[in-house]
Amino acid sequence: MKTIRKHLEALRIVRRNVYHPLVHKIHRKHKISRKTLFYIKEYGPHTNVSKTIIKESIKILLFASIISSFGGLALEYVKEIFLSFTPLIILLPVLNDMIGDYGTIVSSRFSTMLHEGKIRKKLLQNLELRRLILQISIISIATTILSVIISLFISGLPDYSYIAKISFKIFLIAIIDTLLLLVILFLIAISFGLYFYRKGEDPNNFLIPLSTSVADFGNMIILSILVILFF
């Protein structure tokens, strides 16, 4: 008991941002999970919880804000056209959320596959990866079609009757945007996932903020280009 206490006290004074071998040693010797040890090291009695969280989160949050604002700037350029099509405004939060959700799912599941050693050299021959790509593609197309139909229905309710041509263009914009973003998401998750994993780091800590930020930014850019092209 004394040894555990001594070890845990030693762990508390280890610098937060350093992965100390002591974590591994305590984990092996006393069978305490790494997650518990991580929590003790991060938020133990001698640490300032709020300071720790702010210090670790602020950079990535500011980075995400800047990236999103650049995407927003692209939309600001096509504001007039964008705002004249009601379904596009309705679809904006939907597409944003959808891409964020898929970014999180793809990143976390690919990270898990890497940790479990399921990813070998021939990526596309991997059944689980192929299943993930197919599942996400089917779900994203289905949810995009559903969202467009609902947004067209909502837009048509007040005094706005959408002719078939405009509806079809909005439908195409949403589908092309989703498909292009899916390709970007998978490319980011696979290439950066492999890169961080080979560097000996946990891809979970980088892939989600990276893929969601780039996908959000990409969403605004692709949406702006498609609006210019179609209208």
């Binding site: 999970s33 997650k35 518990t36 929590y39 938020y43 009695p45 300032n48 919880v49 709020s50 300071k51 720790t52 969280i53 702010i54 989160s57 602020i58 949050l61 995400a64 804000s65 800047i66 999103s68 604002s69 995407g71 927003g72 700037l73 939309l75 600001e76 504001k79 964008f82 705002l83 009601t86 405004i89 309705i90 679809l91 904006l92 939060p93 939907v94 944003n96 959320d97 959808m98 964020g100 959700d101 999180t104 799912i105 059944l127 192929r130 299943r131 197919l134 599942q135 996400i136 089917i138 779900i139 289905a142 949810t143 559903l146 969202s147 609902i150 947004s151 909502i154 837009s155 969601t212």
Partner: protein, 180 residues
Amino acid sequence: MSIFDQKFKDIFSSELISILSSLIAGTILVTYADKLFLLPGMLILLPGFLEMRGNISGSFASRLSAGLFLGIIKTNKVNTKIIKGNLLASFLLAIVVSLALGLIAFLFNYLVLKIFIPKIILIPLIAGLIANAIEIPLTLFMTFYLFRKGHDPNNIMGPFITSTGDITSIVSLLIVLVII
């Protein structure tokens, strides 16, 4: 290779709930589009403002869940150092990020669009305070509630935060625009 397995059903059902609430947010957005987008630069800050809620409250829920599973956080003890620290950090982060979003929108307006609107700095700041005053306690309550009911908050809180976050963000932006 079975594609339509349990994971497929889980993702599809949570995504359906997520898009339905995003459609509600989109409908509010379109209803008040004339007020919301009257000010130049609102589209610059909107994506970041919507994303912020998920980023801050999502991490908050994830930290709470980890603490709950490890037994470091107890659902019947809210007045602890770790919870107070988390709440304070989430609020402070929201203030800093909202201010940053306002400053970025102001700078983009001034440098790129050549429009001088200092008001745009205040809008996300005040709206961020209002939205987080609702969203952060709601996240704490929901995470504890789900854990007490025997669910894993990690599986439910993500879509829940993005869904409720969109609605609270747009409503708070509207409130601020009316005030200002």
